[in-house]
């Protein structure tokens, strides 16, 4: 039994070791890699994917998947930007944007639980529909020049707090909160239980449908938060923002060692997974690798990580 436990710990450390190796290699190859400026920049870029991936971790733990995160990001950003362009106060607009993201998540959750649509199909459909709604709402054009005087909104993407960019602080705060939720609360325990065996959970008296709806709502809200950071940084809401973000989020979750079949995984792994993807993007840019090759290398790294993970399970 001790042996089994130790083996499990090593398995858990895998992604972290991978991240360190990657950092060591990049710091040898590039002088700019290990600088403070580069890391603050890197982490700020990572925060957007990490926030989405945190939500995705919950969805995947319940045995589901959410493909609509990128479209939720775009639509909620457009809603916030549109409100601010019409002179609505930044705080209210941010709040409504987050609420809109959560509401879109609720719709996903209801389709999955009450409508009994497979999560892949349900969120594939809403991904398309939300993107369409974004294009309708924005008329296919970016919304710009709306928040030049709103400090709160500007802070979200561009601000600093004790010298640390606000997006990084948001990412770490959400991380700590969700870590505690998964580890210490009934909500977290029930999330694992439902992913481990939905039928047994239902028969144990858990509110399976309600919890799943909450989980999709959480993912929607976090996607909206990521969208607000992005919009604030660019000072514009792009109708095509967040396209294919679901793939990076799923990759981060999987790199972190969470099982796509549900019930097994952890959010620390997702943070590490998001960092691996971020470090890789950043390093390859520093090394002036063409963006075409970058995709090939990213794909290869994901494949390698998953293959290594498989070997350990045998």
């Amino acid at each position: 039994m001790m042996g089994a436990k130790r083996k499990w710990d090593v398995k858990k450390l895998g992604p972290l070791i991978g991240l360190f190796l990657l950092c060591i290699v990049l710091s040898i190859l590039s002088d700019d890699f290990l600088t403070m400026d580069n890391w603050l920049n890197l982490l700020r870029q990572v925060s957007i994917n990490a926030l989405i991936a945190f939500g995705m971790t919950f969805v995947i733990l319940t045995g589901g998947i959410d493909l609509s995160v990128g479209s939720v990001l775009a639509l909620s950003s457009a809603i916030t930007a549109g409100m601010m362009a019409q002179g609505v106060n930044g705080f209210v607009a941010i709040f409504v944007g987050l609420l809109a993201g959560a509401a879109m998540g609720v719709l996903n959750g209801v389709l999955v639980t009450k409508g009994k649509v497979a999560p892949f199909i349900a969120t594939l459909a809403t991904m398309t529909a939300f993107r369409g709604l974004t294009l309708v709402y924005t008329d296919g054009r970016p919304i710009t020049g709306f928040a030049s005087d709103d400090i709160l909104f500007q802070m979200m993407g561009r601000g600093y707090f004790f010298g640390i960019p606000v997006p990084i602080i948001l990412m770490l705060t959400v991380y700590i909160a969700l870590y505690v939720v998964l580890k210490k609360t009934t909500f977290g325990r029930h999330t694992y239980a439902i992913g481990g065996n939905e039928e047994a959970s239902r028969l144990s008296g858990l509110r399976v449908d309600r919890l799943k709806i909450y989980v999709y709502a959480l993912t929607g809200a976090l996607s909206a938060l990521a969208g607000l950071i992005l919009t604030s940084r660019l000072n514009s809401a792009q109708p095509t923002a967040g396209t294919a973000y679901e793939l990076d989020a799923i990759a981060a979750v999987v790199l972190g060692g969470t099982s796509l079949s549900g019930g097994r995984g952890w959010i620390f792994g997702t943070l590490v997974g998001a960092l691996i993807i971020g470090v890789l993007n950043n390093g390859l840019n520093l090394l002036n690798v063409s963006s075409f090759y970058q995709q090939v290398i990213k794909g290869a790294v994901i494949l390698l990580a998953v293959l290594l993970d498989r070997r350990k399970e045998v």
């Binding site: 039994m1 042996g3 210490k184 609360t185 009934t186 909500f187 325990r189 029930h190 694992y192 239980a193 481990g196 065996n197 039928e199 047994a200 959970s201 239902r202 028969l203 144990s204 008296g205 858990l206 509110r207 019930g263 097994r264």
Partner: protein
């Protein structure tokens, strides 16, 4: 007669854990040989060593007079040793004939085009030879578990199997299917095929087997001829001590009516089901598999909708639409299929034990780990759950201990009404008795207990009254006073009481 399989002084350990210590096991052609022992005694390890899933540390295995070292079950199959697992390997979307010939289809030359007519004729001839009533063109998925099992047996025989190893073959079968299986086993015997029969069901073993070998804690205890032994001797060999009464005595005063069900109906499944259970009473529920007995209880537990009928708890009408509401009314249900419906296998013993009452162990959503720990340790101790640590995944436990975890999970909420569906399936003799004692203890504390069971001795040994379900209707409710198995069986098959 030269043994078909002769295993001598088999040794196997995992790390410091010795799981097989000098085990001898011999199978003669044409015999049905039961392999018995409590869960964890080493039965499945022995079979895995035989078929090459595990490598043996010591000892010899001789098959057909030749020493063998299989490295893969495929090699054992080449020598005619085929294992039929509890989880069947039948592809539901293929026909019976396609399943039997899977991977060995007769083809036209080397084209890959299957000669369907020939394949179906050959399949039909195998099925006939085994006395199986199956259409080769039927889709396997449309058949009952019992018939799917027949497909596997036919497949094994079509590859010239000399020895079938059957692991709990009757666990999911109806009484009629069990009889059909036994007649197939008898046909196999006549054709010189040996069967190794692994089961916890004593009655079956004494009906169908010729010899019994018993393992205990990885040791070989002995082999007995069925004709020269009896139930008590085998149990004593298995547990290493006298187990005493098979069903513990119970002294309970039966109290007020706890649960009353009136005219419960779900079209096509059950109709007009009325019965009641009182505090401290054990109501046994007998009936063939597929009679609707499980569905009725699932409906009461809110896990399945029903069309009409009323449920009263303590005389008051209640509406139960989900298991959650049932739990709130103090109803617990221990389901038949603990792996699919009872446990979360990946989670630990401790997490499983507290799942239904986690919210009561939490403040504002935060689990109070010290409170949780107390509950966990209490029930591990109370039920004598054998796990090296509460944090061990529940899938690492033996069947009996898994079932105790399922019990513990529900006991922790102090149920007032406890529904048990096959509470001792796949549980060994020692753990069975412990489970019976828990049931009696709960009844003594005033719970009303409904116990569905396919094992009639268990129904007779445990119940105050017996309700017999036949084709979705209550055929009879009998006082357990001089009641015998035949009376129950007659009602269960639709006869009058």
């Amino acid at each position: 007669m030269r043994p078909l399989i002769d295993m001598r002084s088999i040794q196997k350990s995992f790390g410091a854990n010795i799981v097989l210590n000098g085990v001898d096991f011999e199978v003669l052609p044409g015999e049905v040989h039961a392999l018995m022992g409590e869960n964890g005694a080493g039965k499945s390890t022995l079979i895995k060593v035989l078929t090459g899933i595990y490598e043996r540390d010591g000892g010899t295995i001789v098959v057909n007079g030749r020493e063998v070292h299989y490295r893969h079950p495929k090699e054992a199959e080449r020598d005619g040793i085929v294992v039929i697992h509890q989880e069947l390997n039948v592809i539901p979307t293929l026909t019976v004939a396609e399943n039997i010939f899977l991977g060995r289809e007769p083809k036209i030359g080397r084209t890959g085009v299957i000669r369907y007519k020939e394949m179906e004729q050959q399949a039909a001839s195998y099925l006939r030879r085994l006395g199986m009533d199956l259409d080769p063109r039927e889709l396997a998925g449309r058949l009952s578990v019992g018939k799917q099992q027949m497909i596997e047996i036919a497949r094994a025989i079509s590859t010239n199997a000399k020895c079938l190893i059957m692991d709990e073959p009757t666990a999911a079968l109806t009484e009629r299917e069990i009889q059909a299986l036994f007649s197939v086993i008898r046909t196999l015997k006549q054709q010189g095929v040996a069967v190794v029969y692994i089961s916890h069901r004593m009655e079956e073993i004494f009906t169908i087997c010729d010899r019994i070998s018993v393992l205990r804690d990885g040791q070989f205890i002995g082999t007995k001829r069925v004709k020269e032994t009896n139930f008590d001797e085998i149990v004593q060999m298995m547990v290493g001590r006298q187990i005493g009464e098979r069903f513990p005595k119970r002294r309970v005063t039966i109290g007020e009516e706890r649960l009353r069900v009136e005219r419960l109906t779900k079209k096509g499944l059950f109709e007009n089901v009325s019965f009641s259970v009182r505090a401290g009473e054990v109501l046994g529920v007998a009936g063939l598999m597929g009679s609707g007995r499980t569905e009725i209880m699932e409906a009461i537990f809110g896990a399945r909708p029903f069309d009409e009928g009323d449920i009263y708890i303590d005389g008051r009408p209640v509406r139960i639409r989900s298991p959650r509401q049932a739990v709130e009314h103090g109803i617990a249900m221990i389901t038949e299929d603990r792996k699919q419906k009872g446990l979360i296998l990946e989670m630990s013993v401790h997490e499983n034990l507290t799942l239904p009452k986690l919210e009561q162990l939490a403040t504002a959503g935060f689990i109070q780990s010290s409170k949780e720990r107390d509950v966990v340790l209490t029930y591990i101790h109370l039920l004598n759950i054998k796990a090296s640590s509460p944090d061990l995944p529940v899938k690492a436990l033996s069947g009996g201990n898994q079932q105790k975890v399922v019990f513990g999970k529900w006991l922790a909420m102090n149920p007032r009404i406890l529904i048990l569906d096959e509470p001792t399936r796949g549980v060994d003799v020692g753990a069975k008795k412990e489970i019976y004692e828990v049931i009696n203890e709960l009844a003594a504390q005033g719970a009303a207990i409904i116990m569905i069971s396919s094992e009639l001795p268990e129904v007779l040994g445990m119940s105050d009254r017996v309700m017999v379900v036949h084709e979705g209707k209550v055929q009879a409710i009998l006082e357990n006073d001089g009641l015998d198995q035949e009376t129950i069986m007659r009602a269960a098959t639709g006869g009058n009481r």
